[in-house]
């Protein structure tokens, strides 16, 4: 979903640029609460992994493809603030080194895939997690549902920006319908990949999964109660 230069006009790009700067600024402060000596390397790993998987376009219907956006994945693995930083680094490197996503559109892309993708991913993940029983095996399920939501919401956000700053006189209804339709399908791929990756990490090192902490804390509490009863 990398927006190139020229799709959106200058005022819209300046506005999304301001949103991106504010979002990354807040994330720099917020990430401090999420990262310590042990989890700091996870920021590098998650960003590198998102970059790598974004190269893996999977076919969606005839003639179209999609790739992981990684917002929900990053939010669940390293926390939402660090997730915004991870996605921002990925998008910056893609724009400057790989000509993927415009340079004047960097703010737009950070807003769509970084802030909206990670933000929606984290909120939906926490919501689903609250509704489900507190079990580590359900962390990947909640992550998958969150991932499914992020792609159409990011697509919808693009259409909203396009309504304000689109540079071509095309039918907004047609853009909306097509963007939503294709990105729900891409969202299914996003959900599958996110669920698989999160379940792999949960299987090996659940303590390194930011989104699994409430579940692990609940489990530790139960163990302590048992010991007290037996003593």
């Amino acid at each position: 979903m990398h927006v190139p230069d020229g799709f959106l006009d200058v005022p819209t790009s300046v506005a999304t640029g301001a949103v991106a700067v504010a979002g990354v600024g807040l994330a720099l402060r917020g990430a401090r609460r999420e990262l310590d000596d042990r989890t700091a390397p996870m920021a590098g790993l998650v960003a590198a992994f998102v970059f790598a998987t974004q190269m893996l376009n999977f076919p969606v219907g005839a003639g179209t493809s999609g790739h992981l956006l990684g917002g929900a994945l990053a939010a669940v693995l390293v926390g939402p603030w660090t997730g915004v930083l991870c996605l921002s680094v990925v998008l910056l490197v893609q724009a400057l080194l790989f000509a993927d996503g415009g340079i004047t559109a960097l703010g737009t892309n950070i807003t769509l895939m970084g802030i909206v993708g990670v933000g929606v991913g984290w909120l939906v993940f926490r919501l689903v997690q609250k509704l489900l029983p507190k079990r580590t095996s359900l962390v990947p399920v909640a992550a998958g549902v969150a991932a499914l939501a992020t792609v159409p919401v990011a697509a919808l956000t693009f259409v909203l920006l396009f309504a304000f700053g689109g540079q071509a006189p095309v039918s907004l209804g047609a853009v909306l319908t097509a963007m939503l339709g294709w990105h729900v399908l891409i969202g299914v791929g996003e959900a599958v990949i996110t669920g698989l990756v999160v379940s792999s990490v949960v299987a090996v090192r659940p303590d390194l999964v930011h989104g699994a902490r409430p579940v692990l804390a609940a489990r530790r509490l139960e163990v302590r109660t048992d010991t007290e009863v037996s003593a």
Partner: protein, 112 residues
């Protein structure tokens, strides 16, 4: 698995995906590009300012073999992102944070 081994294994997987599997990725336009083409606003895109860079469009300049060209670009990108995001992570972290996480690491060591 120790944290260091876990991160190292993860990086190896990312390098294999970006450097190897990416060759088999679909080359069809992504959702946005496809919709832009079908609804008629693809032409409003400008040429990319960094379009002549050494790794533009995930191809390494001067390398003719498509598999190698894309693979090198993928590996370079993965490492650049790893260093930048990892450095940022270390820069903003809570330093010398004792408590839960160090106890967990100590537990890992006794497990191993």
């Amino acid at each position: 698995m120790r944290t260091r081994s876990f991160v190292l294994a993860g990086v190896v997987v990312a390098l294999l995906l970006a450097g190897g599997l990416s060759f088999y990725a679909s080359s069809h336009p992504d959702g946005l590009e496809y919709v832009a083409e079908k609804t008629g606003f693809l032409d409003s895109a400008d040429d990319h300012a960094a379009g002549d860079g050494p790794f533009a469009d995930y191809a390494t300049k001067g390398v003719d073999d498509a598999r190698l060209s894309g693979g090198v670009a993928g590996i370079v990108g993965t490492l650049v992102v790893l260093v930048l995001a990892g450095g940022l992570g270390f820069a903003v972290r809570r330093r010398g944070s004792a408590g839960q996480s160090e106890r967990a690491d100590a537990r890992d060591k006794t497990d191993a």
